[in-house]
């Protein structure tokens, strides 16, 4: 299995052009302040108002390596760094023809090509950056850790092209591990074959095709019995939004109120996608669905989506968080907490998972859609526990207008300007409301518990 690697991320909006990073690089690589020896290059923006970066991206499929006739360049399978061996290099410069970003360049003073080597995992440029414009992203360790864990689902699950739910449940169950019981109520997740067909299973863990209405309680029963006999088993629900917000809500609410020790994950695709894209209680205002169609008398859903994760916080269960598949490290952190919490109380994760089939957008765009949901505040990423209250985990300082998100999605194609303005208002209101929740002093509540 391919490995993931640490990388350098540039945040141009934080860069003030001080070029301390370049000095640090020249010092680290050549013991000089001569910036021509720096392998990272901060450039002024072409319009003069910001900064650009020329730096080796340590590509996964490095064309510089492919173009090298001498074997001097290799992609290091352990570190991911594109290594350059000076003793093999013949200075032909063909590598520079392979790089679209000027990551490997020739400097006459240096005498041959040079490129970033990531300083053996401790980049000097990052240490020198005062503004956090350069970030050493090491989440790869996390991904690799996941890769080493066993996939708890069989190959060949039949999710739609571009569906993030399969990715989500595979990642989730890798972390949860084999000592678990999974319940999947009717919907896309069993529909893609997780519970199997005709007596054959799609999972390596015990998995149950629970009812749409009963998942939380059923799992609570499983967990209760294992607690009785002293066995530690993680009880996981992989439910859609119908099985959580609508028909399943009574069960979810009851389990949350009792703080049943289960991990309930709502994979929210904003409707009944498996049965043909009907609307659910969390289908957003204005959204086309097969039961909130668009016609002369009706232009998509006429009511708002209920904010289910916020409702869940009102149950005072042990942990509630929202997540997006485009922000997996955020999700991993929350999942790790949720797994731990679920040993003693209820953990509820609400994951917003756009549906390319039902929402009408290209299957290649799913992760972009996820990103844009967060960038526009259409989706807010936060977590809650009774002791510490609610806090944002990925606050968006300058959100893009929600129209940038809506126009990506076919199910909003019909929206009028008034409807878009209305959605923008509700998004703003939602964030303002969540913001108020983050400010609640919870010490009293904590001591009361």
């Amino acid at each position: 299995m391919a490995k993931c690697f640490s990388t350098l991320q540039f945040h141009p909006e934080r860069c003030d052009g001080c070029i301390e990073c370049m000095t640090a690089c020249a010092q680290a690589k050549a013991g000089t302040d001569d910036l021509r020896f720096s392998r990272i290059r901060i450039l002024p923006s072409i319009n003069g108002s910001g900064h650009e970066l020329a730096l080796c991206r340590q590509c996964a499929d490095p064309v510089c390596v492919m173009n090298c006739p001498s074997g001097a360049l290799t992609k290091n399978a352990d570190t991911g760094v594109v290594d350059w061996a000076g003793d093999k290099c013949v200075d032909c410069l063909l590598c520079t023809a392979g790089c679209a970003y000027a990551g490997i360049v020739y400097e006459a003073e240096v005498g041959h090509v040079s490129k970033c080597d990531m300083c053996d995992g401790a980049p000097a440029c990052v240490a020198a950056c005062k503004n956090g414009a350069l970030e050493h992203r090491t989440e790869a360790r996390l991904f690799n850790g996941f890769a080493e864990k066993e996939d708890m689902f069989c190959p060949g699950l039949a999710a739609c092209h571009g569906c993030n739910s399969e990715l989500l449940i595979r990642h989730t169950m890798r972390m949860v591990g084999p000592d678990s019981v999974v319940a999947a109520p009717p919907g896309c997740i069993p529909g893609m074959g997780t519970v199997g067909y005709n007596g054959q299973t799609g999972a390596k863990v015990p998995i149950f095709h629970s009812l749409l209405t009963n998942t939380a309680t059923m799992l609570a029963g499983v967990k209760m019995q294992y607690n009785r006999v002293g066995r530690e088993v993680i009880a996981v629900a992989l439910s859609g939004d119908g099985g959580t917000a609508d028909a399943g809500f009574q069960s979810v609410s009851g389990a949350a109120e009792r703080n049943d020790p289960i991990l309930f994950i709502c994979v929210d695709n904003e409707g009944y996608m498996n049965t043909g894209m009907q609307a659910s209680g969390v289908t957003p205002y204005g959204s086309w669905s097969s039961t909130t169609p668009v016609g002369g008398a009706m232009q998509g859903k006429r009511t708002e989506a209920k904010n289910l994760p916020v409702i869940m916080t009102m149950h005072n269960c042990s942990y509630v968080a929202t997540a997006s598949p485009a922000f997996l490290e955020d999700y991993y952190a929350k999942l790790a907490k949720a797994i731990e919490v679920s040993k003693t109380g209820m953990a509820y994760l609400h994951v917003y998972t756009p549906c390319p089939t039902g929402w009408r957008f290209p299957s290649s765009m799913t992760t972009e859609v996820c990103r844009m949901q967060v960038r526009t505040n259409f989706v807010a990423l936060w977590e809650y526990d009774p002791e510490n209250g609610l806090r944002f985990t990925h606050k968006v300082d300058r959100p893009e207008p929600v129209s940038n998100y809506l126009k990506m999605i076919g199910k909003y194609r019909h929206l009028s300007e008034e409807q878009v303005a209305h959605i923008q208002r509700t998004v703003d209101d939602k964030i303002a409301y969540l913001d108020q929740l983050t400010k609640i002093e919870t010490h009293a509540a904590a001591s009361a518990h």
């Binding site: 002024p44 923006s45 510089c64 001498s70 520079t96 970003y101 360049v105 020739y106």
Partner: protein
């Protein structure tokens, strides 16, 4: 023997083809045949072997562990004699038959000998294989004088190597200037002058009339009537695709094997890539584009298509490109910098200092750039051409500092 994927050749196009196949299909049987006896190496490295800078055993592009890890059956000393696309089989010189589901022809090119009377009767060298390079390196140990026929990249490289080895070198080129495929006359002149300064006789615009044996070496008579005697004769007058074995196969060829933008030949289940392939040029007709980056890209596209990659991006068209180091100096050419047909051309530099820059724009888009001793990022320029980036708004900035402007533009696209 049968394999799902069969690749003939073992250089850049072949290797990238194999790697691409393995990205998609980790199980399908894959065999790679090469006429060479060695592990894969790059023809581009040969001048450095000639000079002694690179040792033959240190320039492998892949070693056995690569083939093992990727489950590739690497077969050396295997020369193809004929191909039968209908039977999906090919015949080796050894008589062995190989069957395939999908075939990639990446056999590269071989030296093309000019029709010079007497040439085949005298000892001469070419430079296309490792054996050629080793042989030439050996011969240089004893030679005092050398005649290099052809002032292309290989010939120029070799001439430089010989001069550095204190051999008296004479380069004879039919065209009026050296490296005329990449540089227009002004740039070529700067390069030729450097060669001349380093003691190399540059006889441009001349052809060989006749060659005859003279002692251990040869005597050549040029079109201007002069004669040159040399211990060593190196013929670098271009290459021709290795495709003789296609005779009778029905596969369409012109100068090379004709391929479409997915590197498919006219025969089902047969692909071709690299120096042997004649693919669409970025600006029009199908062309041979015998450069390493082209082989890499074509090999990769062919491999992905053979493995049915759904997300395959077809070949954008061949763009000439080269980076050339000579006597510690650098010349870089991307695209059609020498174009002069209705083109916005800016030339600058200082011929005496050997600094040169020529930028060719058309309709606000870059179509070529060439520099000497004025570093530009060839990859950045290549992308600006391929992407058709509109430079109208930044034309002056680009003319003033193409390297900086190019980097700025590409940095923006990466975010």
């Amino acid at each position: 023997m049968h394999s799902k994927y069969l690749i003939v050749g073992s250089s850049h196009a072949a290797l990238e083809g194999a790697t691409a196949i393995r990205l998609i299909d980790s199980d399908g049987t894959l065999a790679m045949l090469t006429r060479d006896a060695r592990l894969p190496y790059s023809p581009t490295i040969l001048p450095y072997v000639v000079s002694g800078r690179s040792r033959p055993d240190k320039v492998k592009l892949r070693d056995e562990s690569y083939f093992r890890a990727n489950a590739i059956d690497f077969v050396s000393d295997a020369t193809v004699a004929s191909l039968d696309p209908a039977q999906q089989s090919l015949c080796l010189v050894s008589g062995e038959t190989r069957r395939y589901d999908k075939l990639l022809i990446a056999t590269g090119a071989a030296p093309a000998l000019p029709p010079v009377p007497g040439l085949r009767e005298v000892p001469y060298h070419v430079l296309r294989s490792m054996n050629d390079a080793v042989g030439l390196h050996e011969a240089m140990q004893h030679a005092k004088s050398a005649l290099v026929l052809g002032a292309g990249l290989i010939g120029m490289h070799a001439a430089e190597n010989m001069a550095e080895a204190r051999i008296g070198v004479c380069v004879v080129e039919m065209q009026r200037h050296a490296l005329s495929g990449y540089f227009e006359p002004r740039a070529s002149t700067i390069i030729e002058r450097t060669f001349t300064r380093n003691g190399i006789r540059m006889l441009m615009g001349r052809t060989l009339q006749r060659v005859e044996r003279a002692g251990e070496g040869c005597r050549a008579t040029l079109s201007d009537g002069s004669t040159i005697e040399a211990d060593l004769l190196l013929v670098c007058t271009g290459v021709k695709p290795n495709m003789d074995f296609l005779a009778g196969s029905g596969i369409e060829t012109e100068a090379g094997i004709l391929v479409d933008d997915r590197m498919r030949t006219s025969a089902p289940n047969v692909w071709a890539a690299g120096d042997v392939a004649q693919a669409r040029g970025f600006w029009g007709d199908k062309v041979l584009n015998g450069i390493l980056p082209n082989a890499v890209e074509q090999g990769r596209i062919a491999g992905l298509d053979m493995a049915d990659d759904a997300g395959l991006q077809p070949f954008p068209g061949a763009v000439p490109l080269n980076t050339y180091s000579f006597f510690g100096q650098q010349a870089i050419s991307v695209g059609r910098a020498h174009a002069d047909d209705g083109v916005d051309v800016k030339e600058s530099g200082d011929d005496d200092k050997g600094v040169y820059r020529r930028i060719a724009l058309k309709d606000g888009k870059l179509i070529g750039i060439a520099t000497i001793n004025d570093f530009i990022d060839a990859g950045v320029m290549w992308q600006l051409i391929l992407r058709g980036t509109d430079l109208s708004a930044v034309r002056d900035k680009f003319i003033a500092d193409p390297m900086l402007t190019g980097r700025q533009l590409m940095s923006q696209t990466w975010r």
